[in-house]
């Protein structure tokens, strides 16, 4: 009975598959990857950066232009301007000027609908700012309150990371890490992610990115924020000229903010493609599920 035989073969395959799946399921074990302080500080950092970005864009909207140099009026045109043009019929259009080139960006940059639904002149749209309305005094309150929280959270993170050896164990790349940068780069391009025991640790590109964000971008961001303060500039008169002057400092602050947005976008993308629920769970409960059996390692 050939038919019967075929069915038996299929059944056998299916049964083997099921056994394999079960084995895999059984052989996934939870690994405690993120201690509680790291989890708390991670989510605080995410919330603070989110509010700082959106309140910062409201502050930017008070004068939606960027310059290079010590002042805004030094004979050179601005690097970037967001503005609204009005035609003969009184219709507004949003224009973004970058290095002298105009781009029409109606609805998003230069002119966008305000909270009442009318097209109005504003740099970034109301859904990207805190508060929604153009309200500089209030945006500054949000920004400086959460800037202090970010600084406190950052200092707590660095202190904890050094004291608990999180920095030395998890973030600083090993010699082996550094030698495998090329392979890690290719793995990332192929969306291949470490499995088994290797998934316990950050990969080398991940480590280097976190180090750049924590020890370069965020401190630079805060320093450029302080550089905009006329009082802090008097601490050592002229120190802002190391960064090409106060208006350059403001421009760098803006560029670093969007570099951090780029980091978050890549971070979220990697979270999404490397097991989204496993990743999110591990940053909430601390436990990350890893394929394999812990006792066989």
């Amino acid at each position: 009975m050939p038919n019967c035989e075929a069915t038996t073969e299929q059944d056998k395959d299916q049964a083997e598959d099921t056994v394999k799946k079960l084995k895999r399921a059984v052989a996934r074990y939870p690994y405690y990857r993120h201690p509680l302080p790291i989890r708390i500080m991670h989510w605080c950092n995410a919330l603070f950066l989110f509010i700082l970005l959106l309140s910062g864009l409201n502050i930017f909207n008070a004068h939606p232009a960027l310059y290079w140099g010590k002042s805004s009026y030094n004979g050179n045109p601005p690097l970037v301007v967001l503005r609204a043009d009005e035609n003969d019929e009184g219709e507004l259009s949003g224009v973004t000027r970058i290095f002298g080139h105009d781009f029409t960006t109606t609805g998003l940059l230069g002119a966008s609908k305000d909270t009442s639904g009318e097209l109005a002149e504003r740099g970034f749209p109301s859904w990207l700012t805190i508060p929604d309305d153009q309200w500089l005094a209030m945006a500054r309150r949000w920004h400086f309150f959460f800037a202090w929280l970010l600084v406190i959270n950052g200092l707590a993170f660095v202190t904890y990371s050094i004291a608990s050896r999180h920095l030395q164990h998890d973030l600083l790349p090993t010699g082996h890490d550094l030698r495998s940068i090329g392979r890690s780069f290719i793995d990332h391009l192929h969306f291949r992610h470490p499995t088994g025991k290797a998934a316990r640790y950050y990969n080398v590109l991940q480590k280097l990115t976190y180090l750049v964000v924590i020890f370069f971008l965020l401190p630079l961001m805060i320093l450029m924020g302080l550089g905009m303060s006329p009082a802090m500039d008097s601490l050592h008169p002229g120190w802002v000229d190391i960064f090409f002057g106060r208006q350059s400092v403001r421009t760098i602050h803006f560029v670093v903010a969007w570099t951090l947005v780029l980091f978050v976008a890549v971070h979220l993308f990697e979270v999404l493609i490397s097991g989204v629920w496993n990743n999110i769970r591990s940053m909430i409960t601390g436990y990350y599920k890893i394929d394999g059996e812990p006792k066989h390692e």
Partner: protein
């Protein structure tokens, strides 16, 4: 944990995340309009004030610039011609009848003409003006040192603040005159001057003629233009909105070091 439970948990988590982000966005506007939350947020700027006063030396000097850094045009912001008949009469006569009144908690109240102000110890400085909006301009200012003026007026022991009363109305109907206030630490700072010259010319009307404050370690809104009268007080809570300045009454911080 069964798959079903797993899915429910995931669904719940996804809904929680979506709800939280929407809640944050909508909530921020409502929180801004509440009476209590802006006060909590204000702790940030209060902390900044305390920290800056702690770490900055009292006489720390604002940066000064060489002449090539001067802005070709010194930008006018806010009022460029006060809508005030008394002021316009003074301006039409080249401020020949102008007198700066100095009163309040002083032993010797004064009324000083521009010619008399020019006899006070002066200072000339090329400094950067930073507006709260984000732009900066560099100008050369010459003016009477406020500290020297206050010494002549002889402060009473309880003098704590200098209040600047200005000629520019902030409301369309000509009411709500601009005013500002600073503390004595700033008033006696060597770079704090009542400027009567900008870029070697008498101060133009658009930049605050005949007299404006320069307070180089704070933002532009502190630097009152069209100054008519100084009042030395121990407390400004009974003046106008009670926050020590026109913009402060609109919700801006009294200390504008950031």
């Amino acid at each position: 944990m069964s798959d079903e439970q797993n899915l429910t948990r995931r669904g719940l988590l996804a809904r929680l995340i979506a709800g939280a982000s929407l809640g944050v966005l909508g909530g921020c506007q409502r929180l801004s309009e509440s009476s209590w939350f802006p006060k909590v947020l204000g702790l940030g700027e209060k902390t900044t004030y305390k920290m800056q006063r702690l770490i900055l030396p009292r006489k720390a000097m604002a940066q000064e610039f060489p002449a090539p850094d001067l802005s070709p045009q010194f930008r006018s912001n806010g009022t460029s011609m006060p809508n005030n008949p008394t002021y316009r009469t003074l301006a039409s006569n080249g401020f020949i009848d102008y007198h700066l009144e100095v009163g309040g908690l002083v032993a010797r109240p004064m009324a000083l003409s521009l010619a008399e102000l020019r006899t006070f110890p002066s200072r000339t400085q090329i400094t950067r003006h930073d507006c709260v909006e984000g732009w900066s301009a560099i100008g050369k200012w010459k003016g009477a040192r406020l500290g020297a003026l206050l010494e002549t007026a002889q402060l009473r022991p309880n003098a704590r603040y200098v209040v600047f009363y200005c000629a520019d109305p902030m409301a369309d109907d000509g009411s709500s005159l601009y005013y500002e206030s600073i503390d004595m630490e700033d008033a006696f700072h060597p770079q704090t001057i009542l400027a009567y010259d900008l870029n070697d010319e008498p101060l133009p009307v658009k930049n605050g003629a005949p007299l404006r404050l320069r307070l180089e370690r704070q933002l532009g809104y502190k630097m009152a233009k069209y100054v008519m009268r100084l009042e030395i007080v121990d407390d400004f809570s009974r003046i106008a909105g009670g926050k020590g300045g026109y913009w402060e009454d609109q919700g801006y911080e009294w200390y504008a070091g950031v």
